[in-house]
Symmetry: C2
Subunit: 383 residues, 2 copies
């Protein structure tokens, strides 16, 4: 089940040219999601260092799981026994699972791609495994995720020492299209009650992106993603694709930009017409002492914070900012104490989710253009 | 400030011989503590992997901090600026700090003990440091802990390949007594508004323990601890000292058994007349997948838990048991996910605190003897 309703768009007004931004409501089998939204990443059935109840408190509406990882550990027997990922991990709101395509791609030399699928050695125990479009659908059906991603080949930006050529990108893109069709068939055969998203590929070539999206749209899937970004390309290349593809996808269906990005990227992505985002950046950066705030990023390991009694962001309402100082968090980081990444992960995720709430409020109030200006000015100010 | 009130004792009844157990109420500068109580250990200003709010929820009333560690990191400048440890770590109920004696003792060959104090190289940056009774009092005054421990020399059970002789234990014990007096003087000179506890030493020799406690009692300190246990001695030796010392201390003052122990040790300790316990066991064991339950200990890494849908302990009311299965916790441990130790630490600490609540309820109801029998039978049953 998937139902997507556009509530508002961002029209031109006076000298403001408007944008492709949309405010929407997405209904899925495990609940409702207000868009645009950021989705915290829970690779192994846990958003690293964050309890489900903290996710609820910070306003998370949908989280990610990784098909590839969960297939290897805990494995399908366990997940089947629990009736899927929701009960296993104690998260009863919507979940999106990726297809495993990006992860097998990341294995590099350890995997072999053919028309049938991807053969690779399990990084956990060395077993030889085959992941195909059909297997990916079967796994995701066991996971019972609300949004299922098609199995695709992630086209690299660069490989074997050269930037991927148009011909190479086309070969890869057309393979992903054939896999999309196989996913669609298998998803239907399995009677999966959730929603299957197609993934637009085509590397950094707009004409290939256009071809990919047209053929996927012809399959009439309930939602679409833009894949093959955040794969090592320069920022401008990502921005070029982000400006090209989202608004060309069907307006009445949700759009998901995979693996992006910084707070600035998210706001630009919304303006480009994206509804759903995911990225490991808030949690990974939190663990490295890189914190996001309204007035720019804060590097917690800087010794200037050793005696700083202020919270990370005085304008933030998260649990961490309500109770703990920069000095304390600096100390925890320095001592390698687990509470450090626990508290900074809460803050960074809260920042991303609150930013998306602000975006939704601005769209509801018809002042998205003004919001973007203020957001950029604030972020550029510096902590 | 310290006020200790004995509410109940555990009298003989029929064939039951009674015990030295006492139910008490301890009033300290940052609040009230119901005894007997277990105190979670927060070495570096954090109970490892546990948020203060989780500590509140599980009924923690007083936690520990380590003088030695906090002196090195974050250092006194930071702690002074925050007005002490409470505000720095966001814990506003009572705190007990140890004196640093046990930690410098643990440095082994890296330290040198003299009448004046202990010279050692900082394990953080190699600086040569001197910790004396006076310095320990000065640090703990900055920390503003509710209970301040005297600086003592922890007499080892064994050193240089032989069990500590009575002569060696006497030399060490009398040094600790002289240090106790210096602590008392410095504590008074500093005008510290909290409560200083003396520490009974004497190794495994009851006559020395007796001498130590008599001289400490003559100093009329507001509370006393039994130190120099959990230092590598066989269990029976610890039990012999635990049976000897606590009930010989003044009945109207709180008694603290340092660094002990298993759930069984705690219940025995209460019967021996102890009011306060601390131990890293619940948190350290949690991180190693060793979980405590009403019906014995559970080794989470055992593959039998891979598909086990039950909570760690079906009779437990902690956040972890209310929301997560053994299978999920087994999975988190296997994947090295931070959420694993976060959730198991909550469970183990909750187990210890709930056990002490049961002990207090039993003492209030005059059925401590029956409680101990049931407790032992339950624990021996096995998970």
């Amino acid at each position: 089940m998937l139902n997507f309703e556009r509530l508002h768009t961002d029209p031109a007004q006076g000298s403001y040219l408007g944008s492709h931004a949309r405010r929407g409501r997405l209904r899925l089998n495990h609940g409702e999601v207000q868009t645009p939204i950021f989705m915290p990443v829970g690779t192994y059935g846990t958003v690293k260092g964050v309890m489900p109840r903290s996710l609820h408190e910070m306003g998370a509406q949908i989280i990610l799981g990784n098909t590839f990882h969960l297939w290897l550990r805990p494995g399908l027997d366990v997940l089947r026994q629990f009736g899927g990922l929701h009960r296993f991990e104690g998260w009863h709101k919507p979940i999106l699972t990726d297809s495993g395509g990006f992860q097998v791609w990341s294995l590099g030399a350890m995997r072999k791609i053919s028309e049938q699928g991807v053969t690779f050695a399990s990084p956990v125990n060395g077993d030889k495994l085959l992941l195909t479009p059909e297997v990916s659908m079967q796994i995701q059906t066991v996971l019972n995720s609300d949004i299922v991603m098609q199995f695709d080949e992630c086209t690299p930006y660069e490989s074997a020492g050269h930037i991927t050529t148009e011909d190479e990108a086309r070969v890869s893109m057309t393979l992903s299209l054939r896999w999309a069709e196989r996913c669609r068939m298998e998803f239907a055969r399995l009677g999966n009650p959730n929603a299957l998203f197609g993934i637009v590929q085509g590397g950094m070539y707009e004409n290939l992106r256009q071809e990919s999206l047209e053929q996927l749209v012809a399959m009439d899937l309930p939602g679409y993603a833009i894949g093959g970004v955040s794969v090592g390309e320069p920022k401008e290349e990502m921005q070029r694709i982000m400006a090209h593809t989202p608004h060309r996808l069907p307006a009445h269906k949700p759009r998901y930009l995979m693996g992006v990005g910084t707070p600035e990227d998210l706001v630009e992505g919304v303006a480009a017409g994206v509804d759903l985002f995911d990225c490991v950046m808030p949690t990974r950066n939190a663990r490295n002492g890189h914190l996001f705030t309204r007035f720019g990023d804060l590097r917690l390991r800087n010794t200037r914070y050793k005696t700083d009694e202020a919270p990370i962001d005085p304008s933030c309402t998260c649990h961490t900012c309500a109770h703990f100082s920069r000095a304390y968090l600096h100390h925890l980081d320095r001592c390698g104490e687990m509470l450090g990444p626990m508290l900074t992960s809460i803050h960074n995720l809260h920042y991303y989710l609150a930013l998306m709430q602000d975006v939704r409020d601005a769209l509801d109030a018809g002042r998205f253009g003004a919001f973007v200006q203020q957001f950029k000015a604030d972020r550029a100010r510096g902590v």
